[in-house]
């Protein structure tokens, strides 16, 4: 459909990583997003990683104001937004300054030449013009006066020059679309739809896009053209989804699968707020979203709703979880279903709120007073957030327990193509509310015991409104069975053991070893490191070495076969975006000499970094 038909002279590459960078006001997220969409429609596999500045609006042109979006497209299945980008689009000097270091040697730099004036150079801390010195000698430079060309192209549309200037990101997009042979129509259609009714803007953006596209042709950039063929992907319908949206949809799905109304009690916090935003747009699924006064009220309201028979959820990030500990403890004691979603971010304290980290695992396991065990699960990819939200609900409902669902800032915002599941294939979540007496007392009278247990050791979910079985529950220790307050020591010991056993007995799928079962080295990961580990393992194995990978979704309880799996490998490494937390649990549980591989710089592992680790560990540190 485009020039990239067979027989073209355009060289092929298997994959390409492009990084769009510019000032916060330059619309880089949107540009990246559109490029991604076009690539998705074209059929590439892909993964994205947006990175925003911490300030709402840092001063224009400043280093702090640089906003970036990385997209990795490929002709085969990939797992991450890529290591070093091959192409950097830098819309101003500040973007060039902050982002250049990440580019591969020999990579392509595309700049908006118009912005390289003294004022902007000074703001970026350049004492010279990098377009002229040696700064870029190691790269292939495309220096296009995007602003002026855009203005020029738009001059007959009746758009004010300042407004026309705003369309320069579409110029960049047009240029990249030409260079990498992206389909053009979807973007034009998107412009029409997005700015519907604002005709001048539609015209300016269309014009800028076309001008950029034409620029490639006319400026003879043909030798920059490469093509990344569509990937072979399983048949089906795809959408490009980020983790927070997938998670929100997974919660909606859990509501539909269980037939329960959803109640989200939440307090805004980066990077979790978007789940609140997304769910508040879908109330027609019987979704109530309640923006509480703080995180404690958020979980409290969700717990209240759960007590009332709703699917109670609270979403937050690290600092918010630190506030919810006491109420989680109550939920443990009440044995009610509840989902606590933690989109982890850089800590401690306020830390790096817009950067990713996964250092809340131990808090998830142990951050409550007393013995208060709780299932913990973690999503591994953006789309997996959908599945794990359902899994969290399934566990919470079936075992009447609060469940901690972990994601992180990286999963939250990055996206990947998701083969949409057939809604009919999703397994229903059976619900059973207690409906009447379940016990006979000493006098032969029928009574209701709120802590009588089923085969899973779960107590009845007995919701207010049910006739006859009125009862009281609370955070004081209860007599097992009757649920009456009990200060009896033996019963307390029994209840503590029972609460522990109830969680420990939850069946979770065995882990599967990917890679070489007979390797020397096993990498054990959890959460969002999956992509980087899988990619690194593939690269290393492609180079002929042996290595294995196991990835945990269920962190509490752990898969039953994990100990055996671990014991099969002489070396076990645990890459984590923290100082080593899962590794502590593995060492404790299985007494294996697993060792940590840490990254805590606010960014996910790249496959390259882990590849290097593996090579070093397997005896080659080339």
């Amino acid at each position: 459909m485009t020039e990239t038909s067979a027989g073209s002279l355009v060289p092929e590459v298997g994959r390409l990583v492009i990084r769009f960078a510019g000032d916060s006001g330059d619309g880089m997220q949107l540009t990246g997003d559109r490029f991604t969409s076009a690539s998705a429609l074209f059929g590439n596999d892909l993964a994205t990683l947006p990175e925003y500045p911490a300030e709402i609006r840092a001063p224009a042109g400043s280093l702090a104001g640089v906003s970036a979006f990385q997209v990795h497209i490929s002709d085969h299945d990939i797992f991450t937004p890529g290591d070093a980008p091959h192409v950097l689009v830098a819309m101003n000097p500040a973007a060039l300054k902050t982002e250049l270091g990440t580019l591969v040697d020999g990579g392509t730099v595309i700049v908006n030449a118009d912005t390289f004036n003294d004022r902007n150079l000074a703001k970026a801390g350049y004492d010279h013009d990098p377009l002229e010195g040696d700064d870029l000698s190691a790269y292939r430079l495309i220096s296009a006066p995007m602003t002026s060309l855009t203005k020029e192209a738009c001059k007959d549309l009746g758009v004010k020059p300042r407004d026309a200037e705003r369309s320069k990101n579409f110029f960049a997009l047009g240029l990249l679309s030409w260079m990498y042979s992206r389909p053009v129509e979807p973007t034009l259609e998107w412009i029409d739809a997005k700015f519907k009714g604002r005709d001048l803007i539609v015209a300016a953006n269309r014009t800028a896009f076309n001008a950029g596209h034409a620029y490639g042709e006319t400026a003879e950039l043909s030798d920059h053209k490469v093509i990344v063929r569509p990937a072979e992907m399983p048949a089906g319908t795809y959408t490009n989804i980020n983790g927070n949206t997938a998670l929100a949809w997974g919660l909606v799905a859990a509501g539909q699968l269980s037939g329960l109304p959803l109640f989200l009690g939440s307090y805004p916090i980066t990077p979790a707020s978007d789940i609140l935003h997304e769910l508040s747009r879908h109330k027609q699924f019987n979704v109530a979203t309640f923006q509480a006064e703080d995180e404690i009220a958020a979980i409290g309201s969700a717990l209240g709703a759960a007590y009332g028979g709703h699917l109670g959820i609270t979403t937050t990030s690290g600092p918010g979880v630190a506030l919810k500990g006491e109420t989680m403890g109550l939920a443990v004691s009440l044995e009610l279903p509840l989902i606590i979603v933690n989109i982890q971010r850089g800590g401690p304290s306020t830390g790096l709120p817009t950067k990713t980290e996964a250092a809340d695992l131990l808090m998830s396991m142990y951050g409550r007073h007393g013995e208060s065990p709780m299932p913990v699960i973690a999503a591994r990819t953006p789309a997996d957030c959908f599945d794990q939200a359902i899994e969290a609900a399934r566990i919470a409902i079936k075992y009447r327990t609060p469940v901690m669902l972990l994601s992180d800032g990286y999963l939250a915002n990055s996206s990947e193509p998701w083969l949409l599941p057939d809604v009919e294939d999703l397994e229903p979540i059976p619900i059973e509310f207690a409906s009447g007496f379940n016990q006979v007392d000493e006098n032969g009278d029928e009574v209701f015991w709120p802590y009588l247990r089923d085969d899973n050791l779960a107590r009845p979910w007995a919701i207010p409104g049910t006739p006859e079985i009125m009862h009281r529950i609370g955070g004081l220790e209860k007599q097992d069975g009757s649920g009456n307050v009990s200060y009896d020591g033996a019963n307390h010991a029994h209840m503590i053991a029972l609460r522990a056993e109830r969680i420990a007995r939850i069946p979770v799928p065995d882990v599967e070893v990917s890679g070489d079962a007979d390797a020397e080295l096993l990498l054990v990961g959890w959460g969002s490191t999956w992509g980087a580990i899988a990619a690194a393992v593939r690269r290393v194995r492609d180079s002929g070495r042996k290595v294995a990978h196991v990835h945990l979704t269920h962190l509490n309880p752990m898969p039953a076969n994990l100990g055996e799996v671990l014991s099969g490998f002489p070396k076990v490494l645990v890459p984590e975006m923290n100082l080593g937390q899962l590794v502590r649990i593995l060492r404790d549980e299985f007494l294996v000499d697993a060792r940590p591989v840490s990254k805590v710089s606010g960014q996910p592992f790249t496959p390259g970094e882990l590849q290097q680790v593996i090579l070093t560990e397997t005896g080659d540190d080339s």
């Binding site: 795809y238 109304p261 027609q284 019987n286 409290g300 409104g465 009862h471 307050v485």
Partner: protein, 346 residues
């Protein structure tokens, strides 16, 4: 909004109940002589009259002596954690408008650690009935001053007196946009029942401050105003539509003065000068002024309904949005949701 799985809550007539039906099988464990007993009795005796179902009634509490209340009611109940009952009740009431949700707690529970949840529940006008048992002390933890203890109060944690000005719970509630605020005390069953009933009937959040005697750690705190022999002179009953008047012979009254209200002798000013109580004023200023009459329970103190205005309950609005989205977009269609972003097919 169709909660198909939830119990439909009986369409038959509300069964006739008596006090015993509302008593749980749990032994009541307050100190002998504690004012909490009379509040419990008042409520247990009132419930049959309200024409409500036990299974549709829920008591949510925090922690404290007062917070043990749910255990003694043969209804649903949750004895949660310190200070969080208003938040938990908010979720429950929003999720389940078919229920009557009551919140019970002490002055520490609801005004100290739980103060924020309380004022937000009042502001939002969540449909819950809040009973604040104010004994001006921390009972369960054995006697520290609370946010309603008077300045200078000597307790375990203030051996030479507390330094803090107390909250006036009625003023605070009114300042927090409360739509229903009342005060009563544990020595007058009839009055308590009237207030509880009014709270129950009010749409949205209602708060009733109950002066409650803790005979172990703060005995007699309200004696100066609630004892039978002083009551007439020390309690100022607020009755909607009536001039505010009190005293054994009705010799005292309340009149406006310099933007606030003051106590006057009827003989001095004449009945017509008395303030006629209007609990339904949209402007809460007069209700606020009334709350300032007594700084502590040592001066004549108003009891009754300070304010009762219907200003729209939060849950109704919230559920209205579900309905609105349902009617705008139809019932949620999961497949459509999953396909709502651009898709492509391989």
């Amino acid at each position: 909004m169709t909660d198909t799985l939830l119990p439909d809550g009986g369409t038959e007539d509300v069964p006739v109940t008596k006090r015993a039906d509302w008593q749980s099988d749990q032994e009541v464990r307050w100190c002998p002589g504690c004012g909490d007993y009379s509040i419990l009795t008042a409520l247990q005796l009132l419930m049959p009259d309200l024409g409500v179902r036990r299974e549709k009634t829920v008591f949510v509490s925090g922690i404290g002596c007062a917070a043990r209340f749910p255990y003694y009611m043969n209804t649903y109940g949750m004895h949660s954690i310190h200070g969080r009952a208003p938040a938990i009740a908010t979720g429950l009431a929003l999720a389940r408008p078919d229920l009557d949700v009551w919140v019970v707690g002490g002055d520490g529970d609801m005004l100290s650690i739980g103060g924020n949840h309380l004022i937000h529940a009042l502001r939002r006008n969540i449909d819950i009935n809040i009973l604040l048992f104010n004994n001006q002390i921390y009972g369960l933890t054995k006697g520290q001053f609370s946010p309603t203890s008077e300045r200078g109060k000597v307790t375990k944690s203030s051996p030479i007196g507390s330094c803090a000005t107390p909250f006036n719970p009625v003023s605070l509630a009114i300042g927090a946009e409360a739509s229903f605020v009342a005060r009563t005390h544990d020595m007058d069953r009839h009055h308590m029942q009237e207030m509880f009933r009014r709270a129950y009937e009010h749409p949205g959040a209602s708060i009733v401050e109950v002066y409650q005697n803790c005979n172990v750690f703060n005995d007699g705190a309200f004696e100066t105003i609630t004892k039978k022999d002083v009551r007439d002179d020390m309690l100022i009953p607020l009755r909607h539509g009536e001039p505010i008047r009190f005293g054994t012979e009705g010799q005292f009254g309340v009149a406006r003065h310099d933007g606030g209200v003051e106590i006057v002798e009827v003989a001095d000013v004449g009945v017509d000068a008395l303030l006629v109580h209007d609990e339904a004023r949209t402007d809460p200023s007069t209700a606020f002024a009334l709350s300032r009459l007594a700084e502590g329970p040592d001066r004549p103190t108003p009891v009754g309904v300070f304010r009762a205005v219907d200003r729209g309950e939060y849950g109704e609005a919230m559920r209205g949005q579900v309905d609105q989205m349902e009617s705008d977009r139809g019932n949620g269609d999961l497949r459509a949701l999953l396909h709502s972003l651009p898709t492509w097919t391989v």
